[in-house]
């Protein structure tokens, strides 16, 4: 497996920093043979399924958004879609557009937070973003300004970026005003646009710090005929093409492994990848000019098999989200904002599925309801859980390739690999799939 016959290597990184949640990296090589290379997930389980049981459909999204603070908007929207399908609640075009705008805001905030605050310190060989306040103040100020605007989309449209308030089954409890949306549009055009161009320049200067490592794998994301699929679409694999979202279980086979409180997943190979790089590989043809300019400048090409480039794909997506947010606001204003009440009169009581692209990949929620509108079964499949087997497979290929480097360098490469996936470990263990059958 390795050229370095006789090499012994033991790496244990306990509670990896600059990721969301608790995970350990463990690598053991004995006499040149790799015995173990894996990400252990040690986050405390939270048993959300048990909490949901018997709860009203009004509460399902409030509860599931608490699975994860960083992904709260994604959980909420996905949960609402599943509930609406199960209960036969029709929603308006305005509701769809406002949700798409919220997803853009949340994706921009999450992708930029990862690129600037969690990944960039590795490129600059510092332990956190805080030293950069002294050494690169203009970059930190820019990052904060971009994050603020992305969060303001959430604050204005959903009442609060973390654990949003206004999105409920059937619509919104409050519709933003035209003035609020116009102000967001102005800042997107006047502030976010130049800041994105500057971000690309900054990253271009750092791109040499991104490790060159490739491993071909299966990439899975949503895809539709209309746009760069985030809010909805079919499930699309680079190996086998498109299937409807009702086949989500087949496209996310999960299994328990002893070294992780989060389950692992595989479809056509031993592992697959979801997230920004998977979306890029499947849907780059749906992106506009600014996103492609950013991708060209940063060396991101279709069919990219370097998982470290996921961070670059996130920045490319941030550019797309900014431009498309402006287009959505224009459409909302052109159509005229309507002060709609949420449609909360169920027309049926059954089972429904929601599939949404959240920053880290496809998120699935499925609920069943009884005739009183109470949850009888729930199943959520989390992007980070889908990526864990892929991370382990990457490590198994990577370690022998870099075995001649120092232990410190190998450790750094492994930490950067895990961070590149932007794993959300809280999410991945807070909601393991299960049906509570009575």
């Amino acid at each position: 497996m390795s050229t370095a016959t006789g090499t012994n290597l033991n790496i244990k990184v306990k509670h990896l920093t600059r990721v969301e949640g608790h995970g350990n990296i463990v690598v053991n090589m004995k006499e040149g043979v790799l015995e173990k290379a894996q990400l252990e997930i040690v986050e405390a389980p939270r048993y959300f399924e048990a909490m949901l049981k018997g709860r009203s459909f009004h509460e399902a999204a409030i509860i599931t958004s608490r699975i994860c603070g960083i992904c709260s908007l994604g959980h909420q929207i996905t949960s609402l879609k599943a509930t609406e399908q199960a209960l036969g609640l029709e929603i308006s075009e305005q509701t769809v557009q406002l949700r798409k705008l919220l997803i853009h805001g949340a994706t921009m905030q999450s992708n930029l937070l990862h690129a600037y605050f969690l990944a960039a310190p590795d490129f600059l060989k510092v332990g956190s973003v805080f030293p950069l306040v002294e050494t690169h103040p203009e970059v930190v100020v820019r990052a904060l300004r971009m994050k603020r605007l992305a969060n303001d989309i959430g604050d204005v449209v959903s009442g609060r970026a973390v654990h949003p308030i206004t999105p409920v089954p059937g619509g919104f409890t409050r519709i933003p005003t035209a003035g609020e949306l116009k102000e967001l549009k102005r800042r997107l055009a006047e502030d976010m646009y130049p800041d994105l161009l500057a971000t690309v320049e900054t990253l271009k200067a750092l791109a040499g710090a991104i490790p060159q490592f490739e491993r071909e794998t299966e990439y899975i994301s949503l895809r539709n005929d209309d746009d760069y699929a985030m809010y909805d679409g079919d499930i699309c694999s680079t190996d086998t093409g498109r299937v409807p979202d009702s086949e989500y279980l087949k496209m996310s086979n999960e299994f328990v492994v002893p070294h992780s409180t989060s389950k692992h997943a595989k479809v056509n190979r031993s592992s697959f990848m979801v997230g920004a790089l998977a979306r890029w590989n499947n849907n780059h043809d749906r992106l506009g000019e600014l996103a492609h300019t950013a991708a060209d400048a940063l060396g991101l090409k279709p069919g990219c098999c370097n998982p470290y480039m996921n961070t670059i794909a996130q920045v490319v997506e941030a550019a797309h989200c900014a431009i498309d947010s402006i287009a959505i606001i224009d459409k909302l204003l052109e159509d005229g904002l309507k002060d709609e009440q949420p449609n909360q009169e169920p027309t049926q009581y059954g089972t429904g599925i929601g599939a949404t692209e959240v920053p880290r990949g496809i998120l699935y929620h499925e609920y069943s309801y009884d005739r009183a509108g109470r949850v009888t079964a729930a199943n959520c499949i989390i992007p980070t859980g889908q990526n864990l087997a892929n991370i382990d497979d990457d490590m198994k290929k990577l370690v022998p390739e870099i075995i001649d480097k120092s232990k410190e360098e190998i450790t750094l490469h492994l930490e950067m690999l895990v961070r590149a996936y932007d794993p959300c470990i809280s999410c991945s263990v807070h909601m393991l799939d299960v049906d509570f059958i009575e």
Binding site: A44, I70, L113, F117, T166, R174, T261
Partner: protein
């Protein structure tokens, strides 16, 4: 506290949304950093240290390892601040405590349930002394700034103990009940500026109960407005199952 206070930030069982809300102080973050030294924060930086002046702690305690870690943090810090509903009162994690723990584990992990040790989800204060609370789900940002400013200035933060209804009236909101919805404002501790009712949503009780709540009266109001007794209690226990333990009929 001479010089800049040394601050550490920790997370237990929770969604890390409160910590994220600290990174979301984009307008104030640089000012905050100017007044403290952040010495340990796993979510945002590398490294661990041996002592600090103020520890901000998010999440509830739900595994044996959590108990060891919170005791260690208490030993190393002068002041301990609980951040958010999970840390202050157990939060949504407390819902699982309303059912037998073995039943809950069986449902989620099936035959693998003994792979992962678990306890009922506890508030920090049921294991160690907590000096101050920043409540809410996620933690209320204006309250964090108040507590933070007070601590940096060496003053005593004041915790509100009146109901959300008072703040809601001051904001001149239409009562949520007038809109045909239910609301937990009457028994929920204020300090959030009635944020959810101001955005058209009902109060879910995330900031915990006022110190002498009329739970019986609250239950009656919820039932009058169309909920069954069981449903009323489910709503009440969303964030406050631990505080209401033994009160439910």
């Amino acid at each position: 506290m001479a010089d800049k206070p040394r601050v550490a930030i920790f997370d237990f069982t929770g969604c890390e949304g409160c910590e994220l809300n600290q990174l979301n102080f984009e307008d104030q973050l640089l000012d905050i950093l100017a007044h403290v030294d952040i010495v340990e924060w796993r979510e945002a930086m590398d490294g661990q240290v041996e002592e600090y002046d103020i520890a901000f702690v998010e999440g509830s305690l739900s595994t044996p390892d959590c108990i060891n870690r919170i005791n260690e943090i208490r030993r190393k810090t002068k002041v301990l601040v609980a951040l958010g509903a999970c840390a202050v009162q157990g939060g949504v994690n407390g819902m699982k405590n309303t059912r037998p723990i073995d039943e809950v584990r069986q449902e989620v992990y099936g035959d693998d349930k003994y792979l992962f040790p678990t306890l009922p989800a506890l508030a920090l204060s049921s294991v160690v002394k907590v000096d101050y609370n920043v409540r809410g789900c996620p933690m209320t940002q204006i309250e964090f700034l108040k507590v933070f400013t007070a601590l940096v200035m060496g003053k005593e933060p004041i915790e509100p103990d009146h109901s959300v209804c008072v703040d809601c009236k001051l904001k001149e909101n239409e009562c949520v009940y007038e809109k045909g919805m239910i609301c937990l404002g009457p028994v929920t501790r204020a300090g959030c500026d009635a944020h959810c009712p101001s955005f058209g949503q009902y109060c879910t009780g995330c900031r915990g109960l006022v110190s002498d709540p009329n739970i019986k009266g609250m239950e009656e109001i919820l039932v009058e407005h169309g909920l069954s007794v069981d449903e009323a209690w489910k709503r009440l226990e969303l964030y406050n199952a631990n505080e209401l333990e033994g009160v439910r009929p």
